[in-house]
Symmetry: D2
């Protein structure tokens, strides 16, 4: 067991089984009288424990033969095998671009050469995507080779290289409740579990056990990658079968949220946050989407579209509510989301957005975007992040000074908000859609597990006249105050001269 | 003296003159061996002192009669007078949209009703823009009424209301060194200080004193809002006159950086940060701009354009360098910036951008944007933020346990990075262009002045099975763990079921 | 009576009352055997008679107080009065931009100075828009001054100048059959004709007579500018009242088609025609629209939207069918039209389109457009063209050698296709949507009235080695053939050298 | 010899060698007095003779190994061999999309089933692209297989199928005059003809003869497909070698114009023509391009860019000058063209355009476009059209009644305007850039060769109350005038009711 990021601090202990950190968590309660705010800070001592042993992980996909299912499986295979393939623009190499954990970085601190960034995945011990074993169900019996071809996502020359591997993989027969997905999916349904609902659940249970035994994985995660279901409040038939189902569940269920946040919605949570954070008031947000893959076909049925529309519509609410200077209570921008099925574009989803905002003195800012998003190539790395992050969360426990019994994360795992269009949070918790706040949350929680305080972006040491670090250098390059003369000011800058009585 | 945000903490003291806070600042040093990182956290105790008395502020603009100068002056007048005006889309009201301080908010903490957001301007005692008194120089003698008309920025019906006020304001004669701006500005130059350079500087000094006396302001800031100068390394003739100039300077000069960051560049610092932060690799960034105002005319001369091109070209460098997973050392995306003078569009600057990125497995994401930015309406609130923030920084001092003599901010005020296209930082300090990191920096520095730790976005209290806050509520709404049964799971979500050996 | 364009030809006679032309009309019948075509040309001699006397024209608008009604009335008033008004971008002047007849030109032939273009309106004697007298009905009693303000279309400073005139104009009470327009229009309906349907028709009749008498106009045209009605096949209650109605109709009813073709649809008929005409195959056309005016509100009701969707959906059919090389029989591009109501954008309709086409060897061309269309400002000049063209057509009669009795145009006036989204044509006639073909049709029909053959764009006289015109000049500047040597060929061109056995 | 389109008319004779047509060409001369125009029509009788025998055509490309050269060669090979290839979106098939002659159609007339359209290529006997034999020169010695790979234009799986054929083709050594193209091309130059300029020309001559003999073609065309040369007025060294060169030239040289008109410029000539033709006034046209192929690299050198900029800048002039209602003499829209080299996008050229126009009453219409053009895939079919059209023009001769000696087209072949960005025309001839006028010109000239009058788009037979064709049907479906009653008027249309004194 050897972590790539190691903390040298009295607050962090590496036992054989755990990384254990002492952490001081700061909050504040606010009392408001008119426009006056009284802020009372407080802090809580935590101990975080992260299991160091990373299990062998199996992932079972509901809708394995779909575009997301085949793409994520193919991507992991291609990475594991180190595949390369020719295209007209040159030789390509398997990668995990678009994965927060695998392809983005975090700042650890500074060294004499400047700030040091490490891959996000190296912060804590976690599953590597190459080590995930996939299995799953599908209502279509197509093997994954042919399903990958049907998906029209990956370069053909890559498909040729993957074919021998993918065509060996065959989805297990699936439960099929026609009312839940669009009628236009009927023709795919040739691979079904027969019998009563109880029998079907029993079969699913056997499938999970079977997979675990045959593959030798330590842990199995089940993930929904099938079509958008119709909007509903309860799953009929869940209660009566839950007992059987729950017998096979040992440590609870995590719920992440709805709909992978991969394209237009993710970008919207960035742009609206940006505008509102800079004091500009978005007044109309219009989002048009079209896509031509099977998800688009499914969505072309009315009820399924409602689901999607709902999961996309609230994405700016938290941002808008956070700025009472720009928006009166209950005031919202016009917000319109349209999704259309246009077969020709296939998996190459298009987003066309228009953001209209009020700027100073009655002015208007209009941004129009055309965004070509490869639907499944953007969703697949998010699926990987979702399972790896979930698995990690299962290995983290914590306690406080007042409640010294170790506990785990709430089963509504709002840490996954980052990856979902309609994040679920425990009752009473604020919903956060803003991209950078969500990302900061994941990063800071992981830092807490290492005893590191939140990223503050302050760089105070570089803002001082006499820094507590590198102080010599600093003095040398501060000519104005050292010798009382302006020696060099670069041209055309915004010079600020101050006069004081 | 009564602040709107008041901290109730043993770490914060309100004396008659100061807000004084005790603050623990955290940093970390990193040692790298191969791909292993050893992080050593450390912390420094600070005391921050913020003067509570807000001075009466005078601002003198170089290029007062230009589009930015007239617009910012008119905006402050209209806000102070509470003006409204008719347009075809209805009655408009003066505002400060686009100002970070006046129109954006910060989260103070939580109350029983949820998170509480206050206007940024309420965090610390600072100048209100309505109270700023403007004066300035211009090479053109046009009064500000006619200059405002020439600028073609504000609605005509607003101009009619402002006319009686604006036409009373006349720019002082200005220094004019033709080599520094484009030849095409020659025809405007009818309002010049004659004499030798030394005489000109003496006149400028007298102007500043004259303004301070007549207006009765406590403090004067001088700000460059004139055209982009040609690119240069030293200002010829500065040294020989510096002595005289410095006599009138009491507490040093702050330098903020070049070029207000108002439109395309600001958005770029958001979008590239977003892409790279999500693990996507921008490979080509193409930014086309055109504008038809006098700044555009000036830029149409080659040397002036060079300046602008340089100030815009580095904006993604820090972001790219922060992700060694996506980019090899010295690898950069193709980056191309074009600015053209198109008279017809006037002050309504247009930005057309294309971002091409590599996503998973050789896929490509292409975003094309068309952004209609009202140049001066976006820059004016930033000018206000710049002077207010600078004035505030002059009233903040701090010391550390090891260096108990109070000091002020470094004269290269990198806190202003947020507002400038080409931020200046002290030698050795990292340049930060990423929008949200810059904003977090300002917010966290202000929070430090109030003894508040950095925003952490963690909301740990809502992520726990048994929270240390509101614990009753939480239990009630957590059916899964309370009674061991799944009672309601909303449809179509990404359910994660975990199985553990 | 003095026409601005006068034809000097034995084929054209100017009598006191008429312009009479002899015209030879060419057609061809085609027989197809496999992929062989036998073309048999034929020609028909016509005599065209155009009445020279232009009547005083009155126009009554159904929905006078709507955005189109108020804008077209205001535009004619402003042009008649020669109004100017101030805006932030300078002084504006009333004009008829966007009107085919008033603001576009036709080529008459060549002069020594080159080709000569005349305004379209000068081709034949026709009503000038400034001379049109407006009246109309509306379900809302708002006078036209307040209706113009509600419309939010014209600059406020122009509205101020128009106010004294517009506020004098009051719409007559209107028939209101709620089922025909959206329920959301209910609140506007305070200006209604009461009584049975027969009584209502009688009142309408009296209104028309009243207007004609009081205004002293020679002719009255009634035009629908109210909201999009719900889609329907017959107008209930038309038959039983037709007798009364028809008593006041002397010379028949012209039907032009549905929906003014002003923005996105017009552009689409250009772009698709362009692509297909150049041998490129559009495979997916996606058109998103949003608008926030009352038409948008009305369209937000489902049935009204169906109308619009139908009127927009067939616009590419004729173009696609005209190219059997690119499209198999019944093959069509994916075509999707969306219209959404977004209040904030008001009358400033936005169109966002994506055209995807197949180019050579499996390549793809993608065009994405963002088009800011001022809805009523684009529609108003088309309304003027529509009434002026219709009035002109009523003064044109013609006969052929075989049918020497003079007749008028068919009452389904397909000449108006140019101006309508869903053109109506007589049964059996081909529908033409392609913009340039429609325009050529109008131009060539008018030329026929002047005895001029169709525009041929051939310029044969400039394509000959020895031209029948200006032959001297031509020889001089044709060095290659004059002296057998290449004397000057400009650089970098595509030189074509031919070698022949 | 059997043409697919055959004319059944006394005016057309099919001799063994020729199609011979009698044709009446109409022109008009215009005299202008103030705003009055006197038009005097006239006509000229032509006899057109088109040789029926289509020769075997050889095409030699200057720059054969470039992107255009390899793509056009590969496309002809793939079409001739009937190749298909797999891609992720399915099986693709070789085609000639984008070729005016091969993939667009013309209307021949009407049949009982409606209008009849034939492929453009079937109008007159012309070379089929599949029958063209390619050869050429290149400064790089790469065989065409490797050159095709370097070009990164065609799908990789297609390249694999073409490889055995393409790799057999090797460009002949080329003349290389470094001053004419950018210095950055130096590294490619490994395949050069050595010796004096006279020796080089002699070698070129031998190459042409060698190709003709070995390939057995009847005719050879030489076409420039190499990089944009620097702008220049004369080709140095042309005169002294012209004698030798001209010995091999039998029937003169056709000059077509500069720069294939494939993407943004072509679309611009459509859009501006559309706007101006509809009475809307473009006031600012901004065109940004970037590309990353070798042409882009070459253009990144300043002088080469000048050429391109000039060839693109005049494209709207003729359209603007044709409308003196919208534009005063010498008034032009702001027009700005930018081309940038952005390696990443390769041959996938991007165009970003903004068209701003004035509409009625001071309103503004703004169109923003993002256009992804595959540079070489759009240019290659135009290259084919260019050579096929040129070859056809060489077989057409004509005479007039006054000049009965048969002559050919002017050596400045303005018919090729359609295909070139900077069309060349004989001195004194008007330049036409408008797309649809250019296309009409080619079509009508070809129709003249068949004795057919110009397309008139009038469909008069469908506009009459009593048509001279199908008159029975027409009466039946014209209820209004038949029985004096309105029987059915479809809902919501723009009804025009006329009243006449």
């Amino acid at each position: 067991m050897h972590e790539k990021v190691r903390i040298n601090s009295a607050d962090v202990k590496y036992t054989e089984k755990h990384i254990e950190s002492r952490y001081c968590y700061h909050t504040a309660s606010v009392r408001r009288d008119g426009d006056t705010f009284t802020v009372t800070p407080s802090s809580t001592e935590f101990i975080f424990r992260t299991e160091r042993k990373v299990p062998r992980l199996g992932v079972m996909l509901v809708g394995w033969g779909g575009n997301n299912g085949t793409t994520v499986t193919a991507a992991v295979l291609a990475n594991k095998l180190g595949l390369t393939w020719k295209t007209k623009t040159g030789l390509k190499k398997a990668n995990y671009y678009g994965s927060l954990l695998e392809s983005s970085t975090v700042c650890l601190g500074s060294s004499p050469d400047g700030e040091v960034y490490a891959p996000f995945r190296d912060l804590l011990p976690m599953v590597h995507p190459n080590d995930i074993v996939f299995d799953g169900w599908d209502i279509s019996s197509l093997d994954l080779g042919r399903a990958m071809e049907r998906a029209q996502v990956l370069d053909w020359s890559l498909q040729e290289k993957l074919w021998p591997h993918m065509s060996q993989l065959k989805p297990r027969p699936s439960v099929y409740i026609p009312e839940f997905i669009a009628a236009n999916q009927e023709h795919r349904a040739d691979n079904l579990i027969r019998g009563s609902k109880a029998e079907q659940v029993a079969q699913i249970r056997r499938d999970i056990c079977d997979f675990r035994e045959k593959s030798g994985v330590d842990k199995v995660l089940v993930l929904w990658t099938a079509n958008t279901e119709r909007f509903c409040d309860v799953i009929p038939g869940v209660n009566d079968t839950a007992e059987n189902l729950l017998n096979s569940i040992q440590r609870g269920v995590f719920i992440g949220g709805d709909d992978f946040k991969s394209g237009q919605t993710k970008l919207k949570s960035v742009l609206v946050d940006f505008l509102v954070s800079t004091g500009i008031k978005p007044t109309s947000i219009v989002s048009y989407n079209h896509l031509g893959n099977n998800d688009g076909l499914n969505l072309s049925a009315l009820q399924q579209f409602r689901s999607k529309e709902i999961s996309k519509s609230n994405v700016v609410d938290d941002i808008v509510q956070s700025n009472p200077v720009l928006y009166r209570p209950r005031e919202k921008p016009d917000h319109c989301v349209v999704i259309k099925y246009v077969p020709y574009v296939g998996d190459s989803k298009r987003a066309m957005d228009e953001y209209t905002s009020e700027i100073m003195m009655g002015g208007t800012n209009t941004m129009a975007l055309h965004n070509t998003c490869e639907d499944s190539l953007l969703a697949s790395p998010i699926i990987l992040d979702l399972v790896i992050l979930t698995e990690l969360c299962q290995r983290i426990t914590f306690c406080t000074q007042d409640d010294p019994v170790f506990q785990g994360f709430h089963s509504v795992l709002s840490l996954l908000s980052f990856l979902c269009k309609a994040p679920l949070v425990p009752q009473g918790a604020p919903v956060v859609n803003a991209f950078f706040r969500q990302r900061a949350c994941i990063e800071n929680v992981m830092r807490a597990c290492l005893g590191l305080p939140p990223q503050n972006h302050m760089q105070l040491e570089h803002k001082m006249t006499r820094s507590f670090m590198h102080s010599e250098e600093n003095h040398i390059h501060n000519p104005i105050l050292m010798n009382g003369k302006i020696e060099h000011i670069k041209g055309y800058q915004n010079i600020l001269t101050s006069h004081q009585n």
